[in-house]
Amino acid sequence: MLIARVVHDDDRAAFGELVRRHQPVIRGFLRRMLGGNRDLADDLAQETFIKAHRGMRGFRGGAAFPAWLCAIATNELRAEWRRRKRRAEFSEDEAGEERATQAAEPGLQRDIGAGLARLSEAQRAALVLCFEHGFTHDEAAAALGCPVGTLKSHVARGKARLREWLEA
């Protein structure tokens, strides 16, 4: 209903409601993926919602709306990583900033963040979407743009590595 109002009437209030409802997932996902860098995560989340607004007509409703938003957020993340690689200046300053924001999180959050930081990006994304945000395997696979089998393997490997770290 809200999506139809945005598409047909360009209803800003309806879009605001969509942002209000889905920002916890998108911002949380991006923060986890960026090691707790809040400012950058929120910038990418904002860009995600702006692109979603622009491309809302393309949403077919086949995938769940949060999964569709996460797919856009994942593209934003990949673009950000490409930019960093191109600049080749993911310097100690930026890494230090990420570590500092992570340290500012409360205890359990910090532990989870530290554990997830040991995983590959794909494993981290799979675990965060499936167990932190309650996506089904199908939804998470759609969000990350990979086959369901690949996603399941990321989940299994990620869990194994996280378990090793917790038991060490």
Binding site: D9, Q46, F131
Partner: protein, 114 residues
């Protein structure tokens, strides 16, 4: 996802990171491009108002012409002087007053028949 016995799943589900504040919603709404609907509405209101104004001006001019004694050359000249820029400005601002398709009827002879 349902409640799980897996400690990893429980750990991740126990304290989900779900930032939420109204400031972010406002920030996103401010960053959106201007609404095309508002722009289109504003333009069509302007067009309608301009056309209504022009019709009123034509009616007033016709009434004055009748009162002043229709047929006098001075009145006709004065009317033309007033109407020519008014019509030019109106058609520039809100499109042709007479549809282009109407004028095509008179351009049949200009076609290059093969």
């Amino acid at each position: 996802m349902s409640e799980s016995d897996d400690p990893i799943e429980r750990l991740l589900g126990a304290a989900p990171l779900r930032p939420h504040d109204s400031g972010f919603t406002r920030r996103v709404l401010r960053a959106l491009p201007p609404s095309s609907r508002i722009a289109a509405d504003g333009r069509s209101t302007f067009v309608l108002a301009s056309r209504a104004g022009l019709v009123l001006a034509l009616l007033v001019a016709a009434q004055r012409w009748l009162v002043a004694g229709a047929g006098s050359v001075e009145t006709l000249l004065a009317l033309l002087l007033f109407l020519a820029p008014a019509l030019a400005a109106a058609s520039r601002l809100c499109g042709p007053l007479i549809p282009r398709s109407f004028w095509r009827v008179f351009r049949l002879g200009e076609r290059h028949w093969r």
